[in-house]
């Protein structure tokens, strides 16, 4: 099999992993080639609009496991391939040199045993770091069931090390991934958390959950994320809308991947990590799933309308963060600016506040953007939904110009 065909098979098998982030590491260039950028750099965007930052491939798509949702499961009759560590190192260096990529994201099916696979991953990283003196970004997937010794070795060579939790509940995992156990994945997370420092997995760890393959609610998923962030200090949890690659009576027969749901989960995830929200602020047993029409932050504001409108010039930083349309950056800018002068609506626009959403929930110098009589739930809700729809319609129109 030639190298072109191998790459095609092993990139195709890796593409369902959502993570492609290259941020969070400061690796200065030494004698060899490459460094990392703390902010991360996107080198291209794929036809699905996702950022391409890393060469995302599997070492092999051979696997001794038979997870129902996975393209590479043992019982599938597909073309199998395996890269040698040298081949991976050479492609990585050649891509990096031409500035196609920020680094490597290497994962693998399990071949022979977890530690046998881990050793192949380690060998690849050693080649890259020591033979080619590669200083760029490396994200490796740890294999569930790997020994502490191999985790120690692999983690010392990479920027990010992660293990996928796959499904938010043990029962979901049992159903679809009978060979996987949550405890094997959390063992890896615990090990990385306990050992993380500047030379061991400096960019931290992340994980991924598949959305829509099992019956879990958004509340199950977001609670799980909250738990993982808290317990293992994960950098990110990624959500991957389930795409039916296999037919199995245990799997739902979705035709379209639940992309909007995935989007809502990402929005909620940011609210958990940076905006001081808790799962119970966003969802409860009566509303265990996100509103598909309205983003979680606006939805929260509408349910707590008695706390609004907030006065931009006096409310606290924490309160600013609860306002739809105001992000971390603009909240900080507001706090610094209002010490110097009194903010008006137009100043907020200049700072990058999304007034389209924020205007319903704020006053500037005690003025509401229209007659304050309109400050009521129905009016705001219908306008928020309407503006979203208009946005979608407009962009569709623009697109048709290209066709």
């Amino acid at each position: 099999m030639n190298i072109q065909e191998k790459l095609k098979i092993l990139a195709d098998s890796a593409k369902y992993d959502a993570s492609c982030s290259s941020s969070g590491s400061i690796r200065k260039s030494k004698d060899g080639i490459g460094n990392t950028a703390y902010s991360g750099i996107c080198h291209s965007f794929a036809s699905d609009g996702r950022c391409i930052s890393l060469l995302k491939i599997l070492l092999t798509n051979c696997c001794i496991f038979d997870c129902k949702y996975c393209l590479n499961r043992k019982s599938n009759t597909i073309k199998r391939a395996i890269f040698t560590p040298e081949e991976i190192a050479k492609i990585t260096i050649n891509f990096y040199k031409r500035n196609y990529i920020e680094g490597l994201f290497l994962s693998s099916g399990i071949i022979k045993s977890p530690d046998y696979t881990m050793n192949l991953l380690i060998k690849t990283m050693e080649l890259l770091r020591h033979k080619y003196h590669f200083g760029g970004y490396i994200h490796a997937k740890a294999i569930p069931g790997a020994s502490a010794a191999s985790l120690k070795k692999l983690g010392s060579l990479v920027d990010k090390l992660s293990a996928n939790i796959e499904l938010p509940t043990e029962s979901g995992l049992k159903l679809l991934a009978p060979n996987k156990e949550t405890s094997k994945v959390t063992k890896i997370m615990q090990y990385v958390k306990d050992n993380k420092n500047i030379s061991y997995v400096p960019a931290g760890q992340s994980t991924q959950m598949i959305i829509g393959a099992t019956k879990e609610t958004d509340k199950d998923i977001i609670s799980k994320s909250e738990y993982l962030y808290h317990k293992y200090q994960l950098k990110r949890v990624f959500y991957s809308a389930y795409i039916p690659v296999n037919k199995d009576k245990l799997l739902p027969s979705l035709m379209v991947p639940p992309l909007k749901r995935e989007n809502r989960l990402y929005q909620a995830d940011w609210l958990l990590r940076y905006y001081g929200f808790k799962t119970q602020d966003l969802l409860d047993n009566n509303n265990p799933n996100f509103n598909i029409l309205i983003d979680p932050k606006s939805d929260f504001a509408l349910r707590h309308l008695n706390e609004f409108p907030k006065e931009i010039n006096t409310c606290s930083y924490k309160e600013l963060l609860k306002i739809p349309g105001i992000g971390i950056k603009s909240a900080k800018r507001i706090v610094s600016s209002r010490k110097i002068f009194t903010l008006q609506f137009k100043d907020l626009k200049n700072m990058g506040v999304v007034l389209k959403r924020a205007k319903y929930f704020i006053t500037c110098n005690h003025k509401y953007f229209i007659n304050p009589e309109y400050f009521e739930k129905k009016f705001i809700e219908s306008n928020l939904v309407l503006e979203d729809k208009e946005h979608i319609n407009n962009t569709n129109k623009q697109l048709s110009l290209f066709e």
Partner: protein, 254 residues
């Protein structure tokens, strides 16, 4: 400050502009405009071409304002905005008064404009850190062409100087008609007219690698999630011309 009807001329460099502005502020002059040597005056213009002292000018401005302010000013200087000199003048004038508080004074029109322009330049530079594509020439030099709107080659070269420090590379900015040459120690930015390249023919291995990359690009997109709008948003068409992986799509569209 005294408003004049004169247009002041500087010698195209950043230091020369900073020196001129120092001179103007010292003499309490508000210029009608500031232009570089390439400016062709109309009959009605009054042109002033003052003698400029450039010594220690960077130190002067950093001590009077701050590193962040001068950095922002430099980004504005690199932009293709036709009013950038006057914007820099007013930004610096206000910086003398407000110091680093200036970054929060978006209610002042000149500050708001200045910060927006500097942000655009930073943004474009960041895009090209990702979107620049090198190919390996027969003499093993890495060669790339870019066509940025702003003059980002200097900042971009600094990035690649750290990243590809043990390679020889050349980046050509076809919009501004300048090149950056890196000799494993420093980079030199020169005028396109002063440099001739014998050939930009790539190695055979290069072709194989390019094929691998195109192959990877096509494979990594998930068909069920196809989203042109989202891709266009992050990677507008103006960048495609020099991006290897987009060459097939450009052909398909035309």
């Amino acid at each position: 400050m005294k408003q004049t009807e004169s247009i002041y001329i500087y010698e195209n460099t950043f230091t020369s502009l900073l020196s001129l502005i120092k001179l103007l502020i010292k003499n309490k002059i508000k210029p009608l405009d500031i232009k570089n040597l390439n400016y062709s005056p109309t009959l009605l213009d009054t042109i002033v071409n003052p003698k400029i002292e450039e010594k220690n000018i960077m130190n002067f401005w950093t001590s009077k304002t701050s590193k962040e302010i001068i950095k922002t000013t430099y980004y504005i200087f690199l932009s293709n905005n036709s009013e950038k000199e006057l914007i820099i003048y007013y930004f610096l004038l206000n910086s003398l008064k407000y110091q680093n508080k200036i970054f929060y004074l978006r209610n002042l029109n000149c500050v708001n404009k200045a910060l927006k322009i500097s942000h655009q330049v930073i943004n474009e530079t960041h895009k090209f850190k990702g979107f620049t594509r090198f190919k390996e020439l027969k003499n093993h030099i890495l060669y790339a062409e870019i066509a940025p709107e702003n003059d980002v080659l200097d900042i971009l070269s600094n990035h690649f100087k750290n990243r590809l420090k043990n390679e020889y590379w050349i980046i050509k900015d076809t919009n501004h008609k300048i090149l950056s040459l890196y000799d494993k120690h420093n980079f030199y930015i020169i005028d396109n007219n002063n440099f001739k390249m014998d050939s930009i023919e790539a190695t055979c291995e290069n072709e194989e690698i390019e094929k691998l990359w195109k192959n990877f690009y096509k494979t990594i997109g998930i068909a069920e999630r196809k989203n042109d709008r989202c891709r266009m948003n992050f990677m507008p068409k103006k960048y495609w011309k020099n991006m290897l992986e987009m060459s097939d799509e450009i052909e398909k569209n035309s």
